[in-house]
Amino acid sequence: MQTMKRKWWVVIAVVLLAVPLRAQGRALTVTGIRGVTFGAVLPGVPRVVLRTDPANSGQIDIRGPKGPVLLTFVLPVAMTGPGGALMPISFGAGDAGFSATQAIGSQVGFDPKQPFTATVPNNGRASVFVGATANPTTNQRAGAYTATLILTVTVL
């Protein structure tokens, strides 16, 4: 009987230990909320979208364990348009922003071309905003252009 009791105490202890581990290891989800929208652009006229632009900046939401995460972007160098036409797109050193409050007005800017370490707050929610510049050439072919930005988040 004593052995059984001891065993259950150990199981209870392990379960109690496991609960914080699971809480700390809350599942990480990364969700694309909004794309970077340049709208109508004219040949030869660059179009800038700021990361603080509430309507046109890109937004990616993070849910996961509180604590440090590593943010790494895979960025395109061009958008693809009709017939495979390409339009250059560029990202400045301050074109990405991390918000621990998920508010577009409260960001810490960072260079999306470099990995960036941020801290997810206690509620496990944060957002990343991104801006960019479209650089249509003077003879840019008319039509719709798109490109994909990928954000990878790693819990540290």
């Binding site: 990364v30 929208t37 252009y145 490109a147």
Partner: protein, 181 residues
């Protein structure tokens, strides 16, 4: 009796060992699960989109021509006059709205002489024959759409008012149309 006691004790040790082994496996599984949850990576993508507009091209295709006028006799060229009304040809992004605005002279000039030009009127249409054309006041401007081929035509008419003592000569002025998306 002593033999039975030894046997029972050996069985108890065996049961305890199995329990400890099971317990160790449970602990190891939980620890491993915890470790796995700690090292998480995930990603998401968003798109960047842009639409390149065809540049607007505007051509002053036909002059507003009053021909011969006589002192003291007003002369009007209506915007529907395909032969004499001034005409601008516009090309750009298909089926896209544009805004037209005009700079209109108040007089025509010939050397140091001037002749009033008034009562401007305009027509815009999605074809060169004015079929379905729509009138508008050039002084106010208008926002029509280019046709499915990205074309639009605009005609301008007006009235000149030569004075009774209007000096003879060729009088000219410039009408400027600005087109923006």
């Amino acid at each position: 009796m002593a033999l039975q006691l030894i046997k029972s004790s050996t069985q108890n040790i065996g049961v305890r060992m199995r329990s400890i082994t099971k317990l160790s496996l449970v602990v190891a599984a939980l620890v491993l699960t915890g470790t796995t949850l700690q090292a998480q990576t995930n990603n998401a993508s968003i798109t960047a989109t842009a639409t390149v507009q065809t540049p607007i091209n505007v051509v002053g295709a036909q002059q507003l021509s009053f021909g011969n006028v006589f002192p003291g006799v007003n002369k009007t060229v209506v915007a529907m006059d395909l032969a004499n009304a001034g005409r601008f040809d516009i090309s750009g992004q298909a089926s896209t709205q544009v805004t037209l605005s005009f700079t209109l002279p108040a007089t025509l000039g010939s050397g140091g002489n001037t002749m009033p030009i008034v009562s401007y009127a305009g027509v815009h249409a999605q074809n060169s024959t004015q079929t379905g054309g729509i009138g508008f006041p050039p002084s106010v401007g208008v926002s029509p759409s280019l046709n499915a081929s990205g074309q639009l035509w605009v005609w301008i008419g007006a009235q000149v008012q030569p004075a009774t003592n209007q000096a003879a000569g060729v009088y000219t002025g410039s009408i400027v149309m600005t087109v923006v998306y």
